[in-house]
């Protein structure tokens, strides 16, 4: 009898894609209607406008440290547009601005959160999401449990959780895939492989040739997709959502993309990033790619692009103004919502703080 051996495969894998780098669709039929593509493109442009605005405000000291989505717009939007906000849940990391906005999280709350106001964390009662996660990978078990709980209660909602190549080194990622495999929880693990965990390259996270194939070890399906191809991301995510909804369990999607911006506004990528590689990826810009696709169909031009940009800029300005004009939180913002039934000791502290800071007692 021979030894059963399971050897890693290092032959290159081509991520699933539908659009060429210049935006030409392959011979199959488009997975999204033109209207859906235009709507998705608007979220991508909105993101770029927001990121530019927030970065500029941050440089002026009027916005806190935050992480832009630059380079990953198709990856996030392609995934988000596969969801039904009425019944599906997003368990985010912190680099998924357009997904949260599409799901119903108010843009002014997003801005307030990054301006340091706890009220920004407010999730309206009908918006199915968890707060943004800063302790990376900690959200993945939560998404798994949420999906499992929905399934137990007979809901057909599914859960998508976002994280990166770096977070997939945490135990929480592995423990979660394992549990999701066992429970067949309707969860989509959306791993954005953007090449970097701050300054640590993807190669330092794993020796495996892909992140997607890690799923096999947990009895879960893995998929690898070109994350800069809106149509491809949308297609694989839609398929994973339908599969989860049908009770057929979780999927790990590796979306191969590239963080063409900094990790966050406090980061200096010039210390570690390879300029040539960056330029290579900048040429694969996901926004240009989908614009080229629409142009090839004769439904996109400079005028429409300008109109979309202007309308997004207006929307961002409105949200930023609401956030900026929101009065500074009082000391109650330190105490409110910590407990459903607060201990008296904390309530005494809250009163002391209010007295000292002139807040409402």
């Amino acid at each position: 009898m021979s030894i059963s051996r399971f050897l890693p495969d290092f032959a290159p894998i081509a991520p699933f894609s539908r659009l060429s780098e210049s935006g030409i669709l392959d011979s199959g039929s488009a997975p999204m209607s033109d209207a859906a593509v235009l709507e998705a493109l608007r979220y991508m442009v909105l993101t770029r406008v927001f990121d530019d605005k927030a970065t500029s405000l941050q440089r002026q000291g009027r916005f806190g440290t935050f992480s832009s989505v630059r380079g990953q717009e198709a990856s996030v939007v392609g995934a988000a547009t596969a969801l039904d906000p009425k019944k599906d849940w997003i368990v985010p990391q912190y680099r998924e601005f357009p997904a949260l906005i599409r799901h119903g999280y108010p843009m002014e709350n997003f801005a307030l959160y990054f301006m340091g106001n706890p009220k920004g964390g407010t999730i309206p009662p009908d918006v199915n999401m968890l707060p943004m996660q800063i302790s990376l990978a900690a959200q993945i078990p939560q998404a798994t449990g949420l999906a499992w709980g929905l399934k137990m209660q007979g809901s057909d909602g599914v859960v998508i959780t976002f994280f990166g190549d770096g977070a997939s080194s945490e135990g929480d990622f592995h423990e979660s895939l394992n549990l999701a495999g066992i429970t067949k929880a309707p969860v989509i693990f959306f791993l954005q492989n953007n090449g970097w965990a701050i300054s640590t390259p993807r190669e330092s996270q794993t020796a495996a040739r892909s992140f997607a194939e890690r799923a096999i070890g947990y009895g879960v399906e893995g998929v690898i997709v070109d994350g800069n191809d809106l149509l491809a991301v949308h297609e694989v995510t839609t398929r994973a959502v339908a599969k989860a909804r049908a009770g057929e369990g979780p999927t790990l999607i590796e979306s191969v993309t590239y963080r063409t911006g900094a990790h966050n506004t406090a980061d200096d990528p010039s210390r570690y990033i390879d300029q040539q590689e960056l330029e290579k990826w900048q040429q694969k810009d996901p926004v240009l790619r989908i614009e080229n696709y629409l142009r090839s169909k004769g439904i996109w031009n400079e005028q429409l692009a300008k109109e979309m940009h202007d309308s997004c800029a207006e929307q961002v300005d409105v949200a930023m103004n609401i956030a900026r004009n929101t009065p500074l939180a009082t000391s109650d913002a330190i105490f409110d919502h910590v407990y459903a039934e607060p201990p008296q000791r904390m309530l005494d502290q809250q009163a002391d703080w209010a007295k000292r800071n002139g807040g409402a007692v």
Partner: protein, 327 residues
């Protein structure tokens, strides 16, 4: 009403609460067919099915982390951490996630979940099973910490914890599971969080304890009574919320305070009590307070644990000396 051990009281509580609320699910390692390594969940899977009593993969992080998700989905999970010593494997989920999710979502997501875990020593466990790590969790705002000493309280406080919309760490004394036996009503009832129990009335010294140490404190108090020293034993029941008025009431009467804990000295919950009492009751105190604790060393192997945990003789000596300290 009949005498029940603490483990029976806990099991009865889980059974009754699962019966009346089908949102309650129990998850943990070996909680199903085996009924838990201490049998707290014995028979629950047979009664309520594999969907509601789930044997989890051996991974504390995802046990607690997925419990958060279950709670958000509308269920009321009761999580068994097999030993608090293994809680460090889930510490990031408990400390940063469970305790803060309500605050981070500005009240959108309450977390009605209970983490039950045996802790403390005295039963010759293998290494790393017996630490009294409660102070890590009392230093975690957003998390309530409960530590019953009697079977009656175990049932009533667990029911209260399960009814709470706040997350509760429910600490169960390893040593008290079967040794502790007292009158427990057959019907459902609740004991409120944040109200201490005067385990023994006294006038000379206030001896504060929680969980398994309460029993040791009472035995020491009996011996001290024979020496003519009247000790009031307070059973805190819950560490957060803390019954500060109840402590003040006793200290204003006795003026002398000893705090008993199984945990190491430095940074233990006893230190918090000392600080609180000196602030709240300074002018009632007749002499410095004392802490009777384990030393500042890791929990040892079982062969020497009796030398590690404060025992009756040591308490009698130290509290006796305290009672004789002149004002």
């Amino acid at each position: 009403m009949s005498e029940k051990t603490m483990i029976e009281a806990i099991r009865e509580c889980l059974t009754q609460e699962m019966q009346v609320d089908n949102r309650v699910v129990v998850i943990g390692e070996d909680v199903g067919v085996l009924g838990g390594v201490f049998r707290a969940t014995d028979g629950l899977q047979a009664k309520f099915g594999k969907e509601r009593v789930v044997d989890m993969p051996l991974a504390e992080g995802v046990i607690v982390g997925s419990g958060i998700g279950l709670a958000i989905s509308g269920l009321r999970p009761v999580i068994e951490l097999q030993f608090l010593g293994f809680g460090h494997q889930a510490f990031h989920q408990i400390g940063q996630q469970v305790a803060r999710l309500r605050y981070r979502s500005q009240g959108r997501h309450s977390l009605p979940l209970v983490i039950r875990s045996p802790f403390g020593g005295g039963v010759r466990t293998p290494e790393l099973h017996s630490d009294a790590f409660e102070a890590f969790y009392t230093h975690t705002p957003g998390l309530k910490v409960v530590a019953p000493a009697t079977a009656y309280d175990a049932k009533g406080l667990l029911a209260e914890a399960m009814a709470s919309d706040d997350p509760v760490l429910f600490l169960e004394p390893l040593k008290g599971y079967r040794l502790t036996k007292d009158e427990v009503p057959d019907e459902r009832y609740r004991v409120p969080l944040g109200k201490l129990r005067v385990a023994q009335v006294g006038t000379d010294v206030t001896l504060i304890a929680w969980s398994a140490a309460v029993n040791v404190a009472q035995r020491a108090a009996d011996e001290l009574a024979a020496q003519g020293i009247s000790v009031e034993v307070l059973d805190l029941r819950s560490l957060n919320p803390l019954d500060i008025p109840g402590i003040k009431e006793s200290v204003s009467k006795t003026g002398r305070v000893a705090i008993l804990q199984e945990a190491p000295l430095t940074g233990g919950f006893g230190s918090e009590l000392v600080a609180t009492i000196q602030q709240e009751c300074f002018y009632d105190l007749q002499c410095p307070m004392i802490r009777i604790s384990a030393p500042d060393t890791p929990y040892p192997l079982g062969g020497v644990e009796d030398l590690y945990i404060p025992d009756v003789d040591r308490i009698v000596a130290e509290v006796g000396a305290l009672a004789r300290t002149s004002a």
